[in-house]
């Protein structure tokens, strides 16, 4: 997978050629207007491009939070100046973005965030801490939620701010997880000066921007998982252990495969329904929950089928795949927590889809 930004590294010549050719057509972001570096394709043309790429087994040329999440909200909420400054470099893969939302005391309850941005002339001075910032150590810029009015109701004192990670006072520290070193970082802000023109959607009006962005995040996580993330094949991995494990485990493997089959068919139905312009809000709301829970359940199952062999991440005496399963068992624990925990997804389904009262 290729991530953009100033630290971009190609893993092969083919990858570089594919990236550059797609970039030169504006097809890193085929749906964005040409004026902002996109391909200017209509929704119909985008679907055709997607279908052709899928049929040919093409990889996504570039992964970038800016593309999936920031771009769409800048197009909707950004000023003309902000769009011209930030979208074309994104479309060329030159800037890698990270997301500064969660804080140590603002996880599922995101609106209780406390990182402060205090006005000082034509700047804001930012002080506080973000956590669970994916690839914060690789990113060039961050879009962050900051508190600009400590006295307002909690959703109403928040602004959506774009900041350069090289600004003095920004410190990034990677977080070690139960599965080892991770992409997650802590980011500390010590009187970081950010130009006031970098507020998107108006001062104290960042919450609607963030909510919209999180909708894009849920949609992106579903497609991301469908096409991208490398993952072990359940049956191929389990097969060598099945005979010795016995019929109970055969039943459990069948159940896991059937769950995955049901999810794949649902992803297909979602695509078809979206293409047919049906209301897919309800269906889309289940995808992150199901995908991440299935992925976590899969490694629970594989590890257990491997028995005692699935219990080390470093023992060279067991097979590489056994170590990998052990690591992924731990890594997938974060999937059902990050990006809106499963419990938050269920809240969303219950309240927005089923209309249950709060």
């Amino acid at each position: 997978m290729l991530w953009g930004g100033s630290r971009m590294r190609f893993h092969s010549e083919d990858q570089r050629v594919w990236f550059e050719r797609m970039r030169d057509r504006g097809w890193i972001v085929p749906g964005w207007p040409k004026a902002y570096g996109g391909g200017g394709l209509s929704p119909r043309e985008q679907r055709i491009l997607e279908q052709e790429m899928r049929a040919l087994g093409c990889r996504t040329p570039l992964y970038n939070l800016g593309i999936w999440m920031l771009g769409p909200v800048l197009l909707e909420f950004g000023s003309e100046e902000q769009k011209r400054e930030h979208l074309p470099p994104l479309a060329r893969g030159e800037v890698r973005w990270c997301q500064g939302f969660s804080e140590p005391n603002a996880g599922s309850d995101l609106a209780s965030l406390r990182t402060a941005a205090v006005r000082d002339g034509d700047h804001f001075v930012v002080t506080g801490q973000k956590i669970w910032t994916s690839n914060g150590d690789e990113a060039d810029w961050m879009y962050a939620l900051v508190r600009t009015d400590p006295h307002a109701k909690k959703q109403e004192g928040i602004s959506f701010l774009l900041l350069d990670m090289r600004t003095p006072g920004v410190t990034v520290r990677p977080i070690e997880l139960i599965s080892g070193r991770s992409e997650f970082c802590e980011v500390f802000f010590d009187s970081v000066r950010v130009p006031a023109r970098n507020v998107v959607g108006g001062v104290n009006r960042g919450w609607p921007v963030a909510k919209k962005l999180l909708e894009h995040e849920r949609a992106a996580m579903a497609t991301f998982s469908e096409g991208g993330a490398p993952t072990l094949d359940t049956l191929a991995t389990a097969a060598p252990y099945l005979a010795a494990a016995g019929p109970v485990w055969r039943d459990r493997v069948a159940a896991a495969l059937m769950d995955q089959h049901a999810f794949a068919l649902t992803a297909r139905r979602l695509r078809e329904a979206a293409q047919a312009r049906e209301d897919v809000a309800g269906l889309a709301a289940i995808m992150k929950l199901v995908q991440t829970e299935q992925e976590a359940a899969k490694y629970e199952l594989l590890q257990q089928i491997m028995g005692q062999r699935g219990l080390s991440m470093e023992d060279e005496g067991v097979a590489a795949q056994e170590r990998e399963v052990c690591r992924l068992w731990l890594q997938t624990k974060s999937y059902t927590i990050a990006g809106g925990s499963s419990e938050i997804q269920l809240n969303i389904i219950a309240r927005r889809v089923l209309g249950l009262p709060t």
């Binding site: 069948a254 089959h261 049901a262 068919l265 889809v353 089923l354 009262p357």
Partner: protein
């Protein structure tokens, strides 16, 4: 092909919904039950259904087929599930007409299919002999006799068997129980000497007969297709029945779920609608998720029933039936539980959904059966 209904299939679904809501609501099943109706279905409603063309949905066009396929028929079955309508659609149209289409001679098809399309004949499949569904376990004997066959044995769980104009009997003409080779299908007149049919009352207020055959003599023209080789065709027909039973369960589950969500919004305890409590919200949300996953599986199984190139019809039928069976148990238990005390009263319909779901869960194989079959079909 697609997992979504086309325009024609949507119209069929909408007209089925309107028809069943007015002519065969849940109250109609309740009335059949309360008067211990001998037939177990309403012939007037069945006649009207035939006029709407449902029995012809998936028939070959030469026999008046509607051309909406199993996906269209599946849309009807989901609506049937929503109102718990008691009709002989599954026994007559899916199993009966299905086996005749797969195995029957031109003469057999010409005799029966037009009558089925017109709603004038009811057929029943006599297959099951063991407590749990397993087509290979059939051991009712079919012995060659001069000029024909002689059948001896017993069948149970014969849906609509006591009202059928003809029984399609799966018999063992070779081999032993457990083998797929050696099965033959015979058309048996319920009035023939040696046939005894006993109506049963199932928990869902529907019927499934016990059939005994003692020295029943049949001509060669009673045999459907070649002797000993019926298994593959039988499985193809059963796979459609599994997919359609899953579609009906989708409707049973869906209606019970929607009634439950309405109840969660209305029922006030501790000064709040109980649907405001997160413990119940999350359970309801989980049911919604599972229902959506099931809908995709049912649609894919029906798509493959119509078009073999769309996917492995057998694996998809097992996928759909396994999930529908398991979810029906979970979702309908939850529907009763979330209704609280009123949920276990006979006055409330929710118990009728629980009962119908439980019978459909076992029909043509439950979750455990189809997980095992799915594993086998996937090669492990």
């Amino acid at each position: 092909m697609a997992l979504l209904l086309n325009e024609e299939q949507r119209m069929l679904r909408d007209s089925a919904q309107t028809f069943l809501d007015t002519r065969s609501p849940v109250a109609a099943l309740r009335a059949l039950r309360d008067r211990r109706d001998e037939r177990g279905y309403d012939p007037e409603v069945w006649g009207a259904i035939a006029e709407l063309g449902w029995p012809a949905c998936a028939l070959p066009e030469a026999y008046g087929g509607l051309g909406v396929g199993y996906q269209g028929l599946g849309a009807v079955f989901e609506q049937v599930g929503r109102t718990l309508a008691a009709t002989p659609l599954l026994s007559t149209v899916v199993l009966g007409a299905g086996l005749l289409t797969e195995l029957g001679s031109a003469a057999q098809r010409d005799l029966w299919l037009p009558r089925i399309a017109a709603g004038e004949a009811i057929l029943a499949l006599a297959l099951e002999e063991t407590p749990r569904h397993d087509p290979t376990q059939a051991s009712l004997r079919a012995e060659r006799e001069s000029g024909g066959w002689r059948l001896d044995g017993a069948k149970e769980f014969v849906l609509d068997g006591h009202v059928a104009d003809a029984l399609l009997v799966v018999a063992r003409s070779a081999g032993v129980a457990g083998q797929s080779h050696g099965l033959s299908v015979f058309m048996v007149d319920p009035a023939a000497p040696g046939v005894r049919i006993e109506r049963t009352w199932m928990v869902d207020s529907r019927n499934a007969a016990r059939v005994q055959l003692a020295g029943v003599r049949l001509g060669d023209d009673a045999l459907l297709g070649a002797p000993d080789l019926a298994f593959d065709a039988l499985e193809r027909v059963l796979d459609r029945a599994r997919a359609l039973a899953a579609a009906e369960l989708l409707g049973v589950i869906g209606e019970a779920f929607e009634r439950t969500v309405r109840y969660l919004k209305e029922r006030v305890q501790f000064d709040a609608p109980i649907g405001a409590f997160q413990a119940l919200q999350h359970r309801a949300a989980r049911l919604y998720v599972e229902r959506e996953l099931l809908r995709s599986c049912v649609a894919a199984a029906l798509e493959a029933a119509d078009d073999a190139s769309a996917g492995d019809a057998a694996a998809l039928a097992s996928l759909a039936k396994a999930r529908a069976s398991d979810l029906s148990q979970h979702a309908l238990n939850e529907a009763v539980q979330m209704h609280g005390g009123v949920g276990v009263t006979d006055a409330l319909d929710i118990g009728l959904f629980l009962k119908r779901g439980r019978v459909l869960q076992q029909a043509f194989g439950d979750g455990a059966y189809h997980r095992e079959r799915y594993a086998r079909l996937r090669g492990f």
